[in-house]
């Protein structure tokens, strides 16, 4: 069993601080006559966050599916951890996906498996000894505060708990890149804060790079403007200071293209009518 943490020193060095982990270069995709993405280019730096905003159907979730190789672009290049995922076969993509964790809308938990089996699914699939799997599952469920729910079925969980289990499943194998697809949509503000905090903790304490797709502005700004810090045994979520505040960038998609790219301060200061109307 190989966790994403146990990869070659050469690759680790190549993917050191400041290196790009996801690169989109002039990516376009259309379904029949419906153009979903048009000439999209952006770069995600290791340990940073990109937050995709946009109206429903603007192509935000499609970006995540392209990164995972679940969809192939019609034109352009998609690099993930130095691999061109746009031309890899399904079999070759499995290796790239070992370093990617995805939290789907509504969680997409396997409804015939318990919470623990969902969280440990990939580890079991990869042949890790069961003892180590359940120990890791306990650790991860403890991290997201759902240890006592291990034997429950997904149908017995609330919406917020399902999203948190989905995060636990995505982080169980220690991927370096986490993708969140509308992880807080439909949740009440308190539960959404809990999910946001998990995203912040994973980014700042586990050093994962993250791409967050949402149309919940409140959550987007919380993730962009807060950081997790260790205070003894406590983990506190505080307002991001200095360069940390610059590490999360927003990308606003409109009509298949990038309408805005910049940090939270630049987004707030923008006088663009579309952005103003979106933010209001």
């Amino acid at each position: 069993m190989t966790l994403a943490t146990e990869r070659s020193p050469e690759l680790d060095e190549a993917l050191g601080p400041g290196s790009p982990v996801v690169v989109f270069d002039r990516v376009s995709l259309a379904f029949d006559e419906n153009v979903v993405l048009r000439d999209i280019s952006f770069t995600l730096i290791k340990g940073h966050s990109k937050i995709f905003l946009g109206a429903s159907g603007s192509g935000k979730s499609t970006v995540l599916k392209l990164i995972l190789g679940l969809l192939k672009p019609d034109a352009g290049v998609v690099w993930v951890n130095g691999e061109r995922v746009d031309r890899l076969s399904e079999w070759e993509l499995m290796k790239v996906r070992a370093d990617l964790g995805m939290v789907f809308q509504e969680g997409a938990l396997f409804d015939s498996l318990t919470v623990a089996e969902n969280v440990g699914f990939k580890l079991l699939e990869e042949g890790m000894p069961e003892e180590r799997v359940w120990s890791r599952v306990d650790e991860v469920l403890g991290f997201i505060g759902l240890a006592e729910f291990a034997d429950r079925m997904p149908s017995e969980l609330s919406g917020g708990q399902r999203r948190r289990v989905a995060i636990a499943r995505a982080m169980s194998y220690k991927p370096r890149i986490l993708l969140y697809d509308e992880a807080t949509t439909g949740l009440d503000p308190i539960t959404a804060d809990t999910v946001d905090n998990e995203i912040i903790k994973l980014r700042d304490l586990e050093e994962t790079s993250s791409i967050v797709v949402t149309h919940q502005l409140r959550d987007a700004f919380r993730i962009a403007t807060h950081e997790a810090v260790r205070d003894g045994n406590e983990i506190r979520i505080v307002t991001a200071q200095g360069s940390k505040a610059e590490e999360a960038e927003f990308i606003m998609l409109k009509d298949g293209g990038i309408h805005f790219e910049g940090n939270a301060a630049a987004l707030r200061a923008s006088r663009d009518p579309y952005l103003r109307s979106f933010l209001s």
Partner: protein, 257 residues
């Protein structure tokens, strides 16, 4: 802009292409690791053992009705004693494989399409792929293997129940002697019939399993989509069962007799 007919033709060709690609992927996955033995065993149980009751009842009542109907017709020619021959030959060569397959299309094809369809619309299939698991190996192969391998077994069981039901009707209603019935059952059968009765359900099981998986995996549009897929899987699999049987019959007759 494409016309309505062109769009329909394009969609139909794409559908066939995707089905053929699924067949090829299943072929590859059956002979190359990783294998999901536990899932295969679970599907053999769900599809094989789970269909036992419906298939047995279908066989029993078909055999009984067949004996009653043919007994009356054979009477006109003074050949009532041949009822055993007629029941066994028609069940083993034709009715057993087709009726069993139709029952499986209704029970198994719909079940597979609904299960995989629900997984598709709730992103569980994409979640599997994102977690590095090939849905064809994990979900499709166990179901297709179970449908393909269990269909002949279930057909033999349906045939057996039909012949026994024919015997009960022959003895109780038609006044045919027990030994006469069983002698006729055996005399009416050739080795080719037995082979036909085994090869047909094997192919029909493959059709039912792959159609259920193909339709299920292609499900779009929430719970309504799952309902549509379930209906489509049953309709397409049932029509294909009849059509494949029609084309397979002359081919097998040429090869086996």
């Amino acid at each position: 802009m494409l016309t309505h007919t062109e769009r329909w033709a394009k969609a139909a060709i794409l559908e066939v292409q995707e089905y053929v690609q699924l067949l090829a992927a299943v072929g590859r996955a059956v002979v190359t690791p990783p294998f999901y033995r536990r899932d295969v065993v679970l599907q053999f149980d769900a599809i094989g053992i789970g269909s036992l009751t419906v298939v047995s009842l279908t066989g029993f009542f078909t055999g009984a009705a067949l004996a009653l109907q043919t007994g009356q017709t054979l009477d006109r020619f003074g050949a009532r004693t041949l009822v055993g021959q007629l029941v066994s030959a028609s069940m083993i060569r034709e009715l057993g494989p087709v009726l069993t397959a139709l029952m499986l299309a209704g029970r198994v094809g719909s079940g597979i399409a609904a299960e995989l369809g629900s997984m598709a619309v709730t992103d569980q299939i994409n979640a599997l792929r994102a977690l590095g698991t090939d849905p064809v190996r994990k979900l499709v192969v166990p179901r297709v293997l179970a449908a393909t391998m269990m269909a002949p077994v279930l057909t033999v069981i349906a045939d057996t129940f039909a012949i026994v039901a024919g015997w009960i009707i022959s003895v109780t209603s038609l006044g045919v002697g027990s030994s006469t019935y069983w002698t006729q059952v055996l005399e009416g059968l050739y080795l080719g019939d037995a082979w036909q009765g085994l090869v047909k359900p094997f192919v029909l099981g493959l059709v039912i399993g792959t159609i259920g998986c193909h339709v299920g995996l292609g499900t779009r549009g929430g719970t309504q989509g799952v309902g549509r897929s379930t209906t489509n899987a049953v309709v397409v699999a049932s029509v294909l069962v009849i059509a494949v049987d029609f084309f397979l019959t002359p081919l097998l007759m040429r090869v086996l007799y």
